[in-house]
Amino acid sequence: MLAFYKRLYPFKSIFNWLNHEHVPTKLFTNREFAFTLQGDVYLRYNSFERADELKKQVCALNPTRFEIGPVYSARPRDKKTVRPANFTAQLRELVFDIDMTDYDAIRTCCAGADICRRCWAFIAAAVRVLDHAIRDNFGYKHLLWVYSGRRGIHLWISDREAMELTDEQRRALVGWLMVIQGGKEMHKKVNVRQGSRTLPPSIKSALDPLATVFGDLILEDQNCFESEEGWKALIQLIPDKAVAESLAAKWGTEPMRSSEDKWDDLKKEVRKFDKGTAKRNALQAAVEDIILQYTYPRLDAEVSKHRNHLLKAPFCVHPKTGRVCVPVDPAAIDSFRPERVPTVSLLLRELDEIAVAPGAGEDAGGEEGTGEHHSDWERTSLKPYVALLDRHVAALMQEVRQAKRAAPTYDASW
């Protein structure tokens, strides 16, 4: 791990991403870092003046991972000396966490901590919907998606306005995006309509792409309604008693019907009612709700609601899988393969190979302290991921620069 932090971890890029500028600002110096050391020792309220200070501390502690918190009104390391009233969380990237465990009820391929290529389709669908909703509805531009190292994905939004959101506003935003609600004991988890009316426009616009996903993923790949448990769950979501009973009877006697057949059965039942009748509308709405329930992003809401929630930093290593938490391009989310993400052992092996290769010998002497290895990642398979972050950061910095350039003229006129 130590070699990973010393030679590979892109501290400079992370610094730029958090700081938005080259010169350290409060965005970095008042930022909380929390370290998890071996043996579950947890160190909170660390803060640093510069990127190399962070690097030094990380190398000294060699944590299994570290997390990034909010920007406080004072430096977190001074927490004990400032009055509690003067130590409040002020700014924070708007973050989201989608975790595969929330999908356990509807995925058939794996369960719990496992993730395979097939379950990734759930995440991919979620990413597409969420990415579009946030850009379109809320107008945010600087979205960084980061694979969480095992079975989930994180989203960090660095727009100035998003950073400044209060907890109340964050709660509202989460409320807007949360469609799947209700605990284990609640069958119908989609309740977003007012009465029997049409879906709110934001959700309606997500429905079409999700219908395709529903066909490919739920009916075909996951085959969610093949098992008895699976189709019984589906029956629970049909509001019309008669339809539900007749389908249950049919499926009970013909256990071999595939999910697709069963879905067609349901759609046929719906079409039996005339267009425009209340029953038809109710069933049509139920069909839409079912599609949403099986495919709409399932968020871990608590993460997003509070500014002071800590979230694992990008490029940390997941302790169980050894995979690096790399940024993901949402446009290429479908072709992302979690199992192909570089692991720390792979990267270190690559480094060793470089060292052996001729021409790379000059680095060998600079092992201790001063030796800046910030370019070592360029020669490993980490490169495209760091480049992705750097591109993201460049766009962010560009905007901050422009905003700054606009501000002084405003000040001068005053």
Binding site: A85, D136, N137, E168, R171, L173, G175, W176, S202
Partner: protein, 488 residues
């Protein structure tokens, strides 16, 4: 603009107050955003009365929240309280000294700002109560006057143009909750604001969002206004809080302010805070067991029995029971003694490391040093639902039927509860009236002290707080003792 006018009016106050003028009011609107602090001299007496009267109104609002009153009822209660303590006539009412009323409203608000800016908790509650008061007044304001008030202020909303409205017509229609008539969207005016200004509408998806802007229909306009009021007040309070330590003050105002903020804390939401709960007498660790058997409501009795049996309670159980005991009158030293004794399976070292801090924390001696009130029935019923291994919560709600009956009999049969009483209790539990069931048990177990059915914990009141139950029970016992002594 508006503020400049206000200031000018305020500074020329002396001269205008001598001459009675009818057409120009110093406060042109009944509603006030309280942007400007009152100018001129205020006597100490006025300072205090304005604040106290306003506090009465706000306290009523808070207790309405605590009792979970629906908005309509809250509005009615608040208006009644307002007309008693803080009348505020419309501009059309020429018979009333509108300026005096409005000035009182104005001064009272600012005094309470001073009193309530001191802690996060107080600020939050003050903002909530004040925003509600504003909302009640806004709703009851005469339509034309409300328009005038809205025009007097720049709310920074962008009217949505016709083309834009046409472009998003279906979306707008789908987003508005009551477009039963197809025509309504076309007739409706829309305003664009940054979505962050209407989080409540966003959370419930009652607006259409595009590019960070919320399209608010004019009938939801009030939402923007309330939000603006709340944001302004929150900001102003933060600033006041920062300025307060530098207040160059003699000893006249600070005691008043202290008094006011305490009134808010003690009098309203936590009626059973330490200040008034103890009938003066201290409780010692040794007395708890006896008290539990005689006076505790079922939730606490259950926690006590669990504690005795398992020699341990889980976190929320400790919290619920510990705070209850604190308010009952158990001092911190006695509390530590009590828990130490009860956790007899746990080593000293572990106890000191893991539990002592939490006990001291709940007494406000550690961490942020907050004086936590005991949990009310409502909190026990609704928040922190017990998990599978927990024993906190409300037995009437969180026990299954047969367990509840067994527990009731084993706990209270000594105090007069019999099998014959169970059907009645179980019926109320099934109907979801847990506090009624609890109150009925109180009546049955205190029948010997002369409590009749329907009397509740005094005057027909039902149980709303475990400490209220225990306090009344102890009171009854004391009365009876006194009577016995007299008879002797």
């Amino acid at each position: 603009m508006q503020s400049a006018v206000d200031r000018k009016v305020a500074s020329s106050k002396q001269s205008t107050s001598q001459v009675e003028r009818h057409s120009t009011l110093k406060y042109p609107h009944r509603l006030n955003f309280y942007d400007i602090s009152p100018q001129g001299d205020i006597t100490i007496e006025e300072f205090e009365t304005c604040a106290l009267d306003r506090l009465r109104v706000l306290a009523e609002i808070e207790s309405s929240f605590a009792r979970n009153r629906p908005y309509e009822e809250l509005k009615e209660v608040t208006e009644k309280q307002c007309s008693k303590y803080l009348p505020l006539a419309s501009t059309g009412a020429h018979m009333v000294d509108r300026d005096a009323e409005r000035r009182k409203d104005h001064v009272g608000h600012f005094v309470l700002r001073l009193a309530f800016c001191r802690s996060e908790e107080l600020r939050r509650r003050f903002v909530k109560a004040e925003t509600t008061l504003f909302r009640v007044r806004y709703d009851s304001d005469v339509h034309s006057e409300r328009e005038a008030f809205l025009n007097s202020r720049d709310f920074d909303w962008i009217p949505v143009s016709d083309e834009e409205r046409k472009q998003y017509e279906t979306e707008l229609a789908a987003a508005s909750p009551t477009s039963s008539k197809e025509t309504s969207t076309r007739a409706e005016r829309y305003y664009k604001v940054k979505w962050t200004r209407v989080p409540d509408l966003v959370e419930k998806r009652r607006v259409f969002l595009k590019g960070g802007y919320a399209y608010v229909p004019s009938r939801e306009q009030s939402s923007i206004v309330f939000q603006e009021f709340q944001t302004n007040l929150t900001k102003a309070l933060d600033m006041t809080a920062k300025a307060l330590p530098r207040l160059d003050e003699d000893t006249r105002i600070v005691p008043i302010l202290n008094n006011l903020s305490q009134g808010f804390l003690a009098g309203v939401s936590s009626e059973w805070s330490t200040a008034e709960a103890g009938s003066g007498d201290q409780i010692t660790a040794g007395m708890v067991d006896d008290l539990a058997r005689k006076h505790f409501p079922m939730c606490m009795r259950n926690l006590h029995d669990t504690l005795c049996r398992d020699r341990h309670l889980k976190h929320f159980g400790r919290l619920q029971y510990g705070l209850f005991l604190k308010v009952l009158g158990l001092s911190i030293d006695e509390a530590i003694a009590f828990w130490r004794k009860s956790f007899s399976n746990i080593q000293d070292d572990k106890f000191n490391k893991e539990y002592r801090y939490n006990i001291r924390h709940s007494y406000g001696l550690e961490g942020k040093r907050a004086n936590y009130p005991a949990k009310s029935c409502q909190q026990i019923l609704i928040s922190d639902q017990p998990g599978s291994a927990d024993s906190h919560g409300c037995p009437y709600r969180h026990f299954s039927g047969d367990n509840l009956q067994t527990a009731l009999l084993s706990m209270y049969s000594g105090q007069g509860l019999s099998v014959a009483d169970l059907p009645e209790i179980m019926a109320t539990v099934k109907a979801g009236h847990y506090h009624v069931a609890c109150t009925r048990v109180f009546e049955i177990t205190h029948a010997r002290q002369g409590v009749k059915k329907g009397e509740g914990v005094g005057g027909g009141e039902s149980v709303t707080h475990p400490n209220q139950y225990a306090a009344k029970s102890r009171e009854l016992e004391k009365e009876k003792d006194d009577v016995d002594v007299v008879m002797d």
